[in-house]
């Protein structure tokens, strides 16, 4: 019998222990928004992560330089397809800033109400998808049902359910329908009730809490250094909300609070989003109360806003006005400006340059997701493979705006 303490050469009988390289995405179920993370795993612990974006690059900025200013609206719809109306309003505000015009107050309240509904949609999608990816399917269905109620309102108002292209420079495409207030007032409480139902299933569930607490932690300073904005930043404890810090439209006239987190983990991001939905509901309520039942929604400037259809068909002035805006575009004075709003994921900025023609010279977008996705690598290195799922879900990366 051979002695047991026989000298083995180093590594002769050892199994190879190189770390495993796997590519998570772009066609991975959790990598919605098409992103790829090149992972180096030791067991299931992530040693290295390389977040690679760009799989949804559609040349949005270049496309905007081809048409008129108005023709950009369908493109901005598709930036953050979870809340297109916020993008519409953001872009409209940017062009209006260049033109130095302000839309009527009724339109501002209307924009706020629609925008906050879109924000609720955005958060519903994010929270629902996050829960679903952790295996909790039923809350996701509750949230999607709630979104359906809001989409019914959108369908009635804009004619489209997902990509509305409803914003216009100097107003909105159409005035609110006569049912608008009634519909929103009946839909929002139903939405909040569904949100409560979903939360009851999730936040009293030890498994769910274990999955999101102290997972994907991001510090305050690092978040600021990375240029984070929006919910993800507020979850780390920085109370920066464009609607409060730099109020635009009528946001300074509503009473609402900005929820902030303390630890910056997935739980905080979840709770901040959930609370923001309730604050949005408060804003919607106030906006509806303040919104006049009649009055113009668009400014009365024939160089910017299309005339009514019957005028186009019956008067020569109307025909010419229509022709000029459609064929040449709105003449935006030469110059440049940066306009920013609080979109679903954070500060959505448009830096636009005009050469005085009817076509944008340059449209540069500052997407909130681009900054937050930068931080993903720092959050997941050292964590386990399953932690990528709630972390990535909670920053709500939207490929459309990230790969601008």
């Amino acid at each position: 019998m051979e002695p047991l303490d026989v000298e083995l050469e180093d590594g002769e009988l050892e199994l190879p222990n190189d770390p495993m390289q796997v590519l998570m995405g772009p066609a991975h179920p959790a990598m919605h928004g098409t992103i790829r993370i090149a992972l180096e795993l030791s067991g299931e612990t992530i040693r290295k992560a390389d977040v690679q974006i760009g799989y949804l690059h559609r040349g949005f900025e270049k496309m905007c330089e081809r048409g008129t200013w108005t023709q950009c609206f369908p493109y901005v719809d598709r930036l953050n397809y979870a809340s297109p109306l916020l993008n519409n309003v953001g872009f409209a505000l940017a062009v209006e800033k260049m033109l130095s015009v302000t839309v009527p107050e009724r339109c501002q309240h209307y924009r706020v109400a629609l925008g906050e509904l879109a924000r609720i949609c955005d958060h519903l999608v994010c929270l629902g998808a996050m829960a679903m990816e952790l295996g909790a399917f039923t809350p996701f269905l509750y949230y999607v049902k709630a979104r359906e109620l809001i989409w019914d309102v959108f369908e009635e108002e804009t004619g489209a359910r997902v990509t509305h292209s409803f914003g216009r420079v100097g107003g909105m495409a159409l005035p609110p329908t006569p049912f608008f207030k009634e519909m929103v007032r009946s839909a929002v409480p139903a939405v909040l009730a569904l949100v409560d139902d979903g939360e009851k299933l999730l936040l009293k569930n030890r498994i769910f809490l274990d999955r999101i607490e102290n997972v994907g932690v991001m510090g305050k300073d690092m978040a600021l250094a990375l240029g984070w904005t929006g919910v993800v930043l507020r979850a780390t404890g920085v109370p920066y909300d464009v609607r409060k810090s730099h109020p635009y439209m009528t946001y300074d006239r509503y009473e609402f609070e900005v929820p902030v987190g303390t630890r910056g983990d997935c739980y905080d991001r979840f709770m901040c989003r959930a609370e923001e939905m309730r604050q949005s509901a408060r804003i919607i309520e106030q906006a509806l109360d303040m919104m006049a039942d009649d009055g113009p929604v668009s400014i009365e400037d024939p160089r910017i806003v299309l005339p009514a259809k019957d005028e186009v068909y019956s008067t020569i002035e109307g025909t010419i006005q229509h022709f000029k805006i459609v064929m040449e575009g709105i003449q935006v004075p030469a110059g440049e400006c940066y306009s920013y709003t609080e979109a679903g994921n954070g500060e959505l900025g448009f830096y636009i340059v005009s050469d005085g023609s009817g076509t944008p010279y340059r449209v540069r977008i500052r997407p909130p997701c681009f900054a937050s996705t930068q931080g993903l690598e720092r959050m997941i290195v050292g964590a386990m493979l399953p932690d990528v799922v709630p972390t990535f879900g909670s920053i709500n990366m939207i490929g459309g705006e990230c790969d601008h």
Binding site: P29, F137, V144, E156, S186, L202, D210, R211
Partner: protein
């Protein structure tokens, strides 16, 4: 083994396999349908078979005639001493059929209070209109009262009223039941819709159509995959799931009269089921026992663990052979998870063996029938066993081996076509079998509280409260129905778990298994051992107290089951109160057109 025994074994195998495969299809359907139901949208309901109306009528009518004959004929046979019980049974069946039929007609015809009846047909005749005047719930309550009344009035009937030894009374009662069934079948046949009649089985055909589709799909094998192991893995995964059920008894032991007196079961004996058996359920001398499990093994549960434990091999091999890193991760997870939870699974049930003193499932079930259900004897073990069982079947919240958002589909990621279908079916069969195991170990198997092999007998300690003799055939039929019914209830419970809970992280799952479940299972063994020893040494008085406690537990189960079913039916028959937001122009247009009628494919 005689030819007859072989025949009986084949029949039993067919019943078990048929049940497992059908339940696999139904649970697949239920899993997929759940989301559609919550969301109130169209579910998977596309598969349809069109049948000519005459065929449907013939099936409904012919089935009715067959059932009626099957009920009426045995009632004319003579069973001395059972007249009263048989009359009661016949009348009960008749009443049940009558009120169920009226309820169904009312539910089908009656309009809601707002006149919008999305799923309703409308009355065909004046009779239906009159039936629909009362709400379905009214029929349910009235039927319930009538059944209870019949039960007690039949007991009150004077003894001289029933002619002992005559089959006239039971025969008339049985014929009454048959008449009710014939009427109901005839009415249903007359109400079959226009030709051709679409058969959707509430969408369950869809799951079957999916299986047919899978068989014809291309069978892809990834480059670099191990050809042999890749093909072997799905079989290894499906096989144990199918064979584990062999030792589970799905009904009480049947006793046949040895008609040709050769002490061997022959076809002639099969036609002569013993009319009655004793209160213990054991067959008397000269009778031949046929156990309703495919193999009544003494190692029972050990066989189940041994075979179920091999299920992991399929997953591990699939993960390895696929030549895919995600699949490998899934296979690794499956292996470690199932090995870890197997320990807790096995240890949690040891307490039950100690109490019942056997691992033979037949004896375990009988012990529960005579004493108390396992869930009352071993409540902690039940919780541990349930958790470990969900982990063993790899379902949410323990579905890490296939967690679709993390490692895509885990070990069967690279499988397509029917190989994927085999994993899928195997998994669902395992899921159904886990419910079978729960029922057998903790919910008394095929037993119902107070239903002894010779009839219904409600006791408390040694006091007899109520007694109703039943034939062997009736009790056996109730037992088989009870077993499968309980299994379906357990499946339903597990479906709820799956659709409610998120999944654990891998390390949390391991920690739960080794640091919580395992110590608790060991603690349960210690506590049970102490309790068993204490009971044995305490003697008579404590024993009596335990017997009374067992009877109380049985009555609790009976009350809970009765209350639960009443609540369930009441809930099902609740008048629909759909609150629709009708502010949008589309909704208002639809309302002006007379409301929305749900489409045929709506969930």
């Amino acid at each position: 083994m005689s030819g007859t025994e072989l025949f009986v074994a084949v029949i039993k195998i067919a019943i078990v396999l048929g049940f497992l495969l059908n339940m696999a299809a139904i649970t697949t359907w239920a899993d997929r349908r759940q989301s559609a139901m919550i969301q109130d949208r169209v579910g998977p309901n596309r598969a349809v078979i069109y049948l000519p109306a005459w065929l449907v009528r013939a099936v409904v009518l012919g089935g009715g005639v067959l059932v009626a004959a099957a009920i009426a004929v045995p009632f004319w046979a003579k069973h001395p001493g059972l007249e009263s019980a048989r009359i009661t049974t016949g009348i009960e069946i008749a009443i049940l059929v009558v009120w169920t039929t009226l309820l169904l007609i009312s539910a089908r015809v009656r309009k809601d209070s707002d006149g919008v009846a999305p799923y309703r047909d409308g009355a065909d005749s004046a009779f239906e209109e009159r039936v629909a005047q009362l709400a379905p719930r009214t029929y349910f309550y009235a039927g319930l009262i009538a059944q209870l009344a019949a039960l007690f009035f039949a007991q009150l009937a004077p003894a001289g009223f029933i002619v002992r030894g005559s089959s006239f009374g039971p025969g008339v009662a049985g014929s009454l039941a048959a008449l009710a069934i014939l009427l109901a079948a005839g009415y249903s046949a007359g109400r079959v819709g226009e030709d051709p009649v679409p058969l959707r089985l509430a969408g369950m055909l869809h799951a079957l159509a999916d299986a047919v589709k899978l068989i014809w799909k291309e069978d892809l094998r990834p480059r670099g995959a191990d050809r042999l192991l890749f093909a072997l893995a799905p079989m290894l995964a499906m096989f144990p799931a199918l064979v584990t059920m062999a030792v589970v008894p799905f009904g009480s032991t049947l006793c046949f009269i040895d008609f040709d007196r050769d002490k061997v079961l022959s076809f002639a004996d099969l036609a002569h089921l013993a009319p009655v058996v004793g209160p213990s359920g054991a067959c008397s001398a000269g009778q031949l026992a046929v156990s309703l499990s495919i193999a009544n093994l003494d190692v029972g549960l050990l066989y189940v663990f041994a075979i179920a434990g091999t299920g992991v091999i399929g997953a591990a091999i699939a993960g390895w052979a696929s030549n895919n890193k995600w699949a490998l991760l899934g296979g690794l997870r499956a292996t470690s998870q199932m090995v870890s939870y197997e320990v807790a699974l096995g240890l949690s049930i040891v307490g039950m063996f100690m109490v019942a003193g056997t691992v033979n499932l037949q004896k375990l079930v009988d012990w529960q029938g005579q004493n108390a259900w396992g869930i009352f004897v071993q409540p902690l073990a039940f919780v541990l066993f349930l958790v470990a069982l969900v982990a063993e079947t790899k379902r949410v919240p323990f579905d890490q081996p296939e967690g679709e958002s993390e490692i895509i589909a885990g070990y069967f990621l690279e499988y397509s076509g029917m190989k994927f279908g085999m994993f899928y079916t195997g998994e669902y069969i395992e899921f159904v079998f886990s419910s079978v195991l729960l029922v057998t170990l903790f919910f008394g198997g095929y037993h119902l509280p107070f239903l002894d092999p010779d009839g219904l007998r409600i006791t408390l300690g040694s006091d007899l409260i109520y007694e109703l003799k039943l034939t062997h055939l009736a009790v056996s039929a109730i037992h088989i129905a009870t077993f499968f019914g309980k299994t379906i209830l357990m499946v339903w419970l597990q479906l709820f778990i799956r659709w409610t809970l998120p999944r654990f992280r891998y390390d949390q799952l391991m920690r739960l298994g080794w640091t919580r479940l395992l110590p608790l299972a060991l603690l349960n063994i210690v506590l049970t051992g102490a309790a068993v020893l204490a009971l044995e040494s305490a003697g008579e008085p404590l024993g009596n107290a335990v017997a009374i406690a067992a009877d109380i537990s049985q009555s609790l189960v009976a009350l809970a089951a009765l209350g639960g079913s009443v609540l369930f039916v009441t809930g099902l028959l609740e008048p629909s109160r759909t609150k629709r937001i009708t502010a949008s122009s589309a909704a208002q247009m639809a309302l002006a057109e007379g409301g929305i009628r749900a489409g045929k494919m709506q969930a």
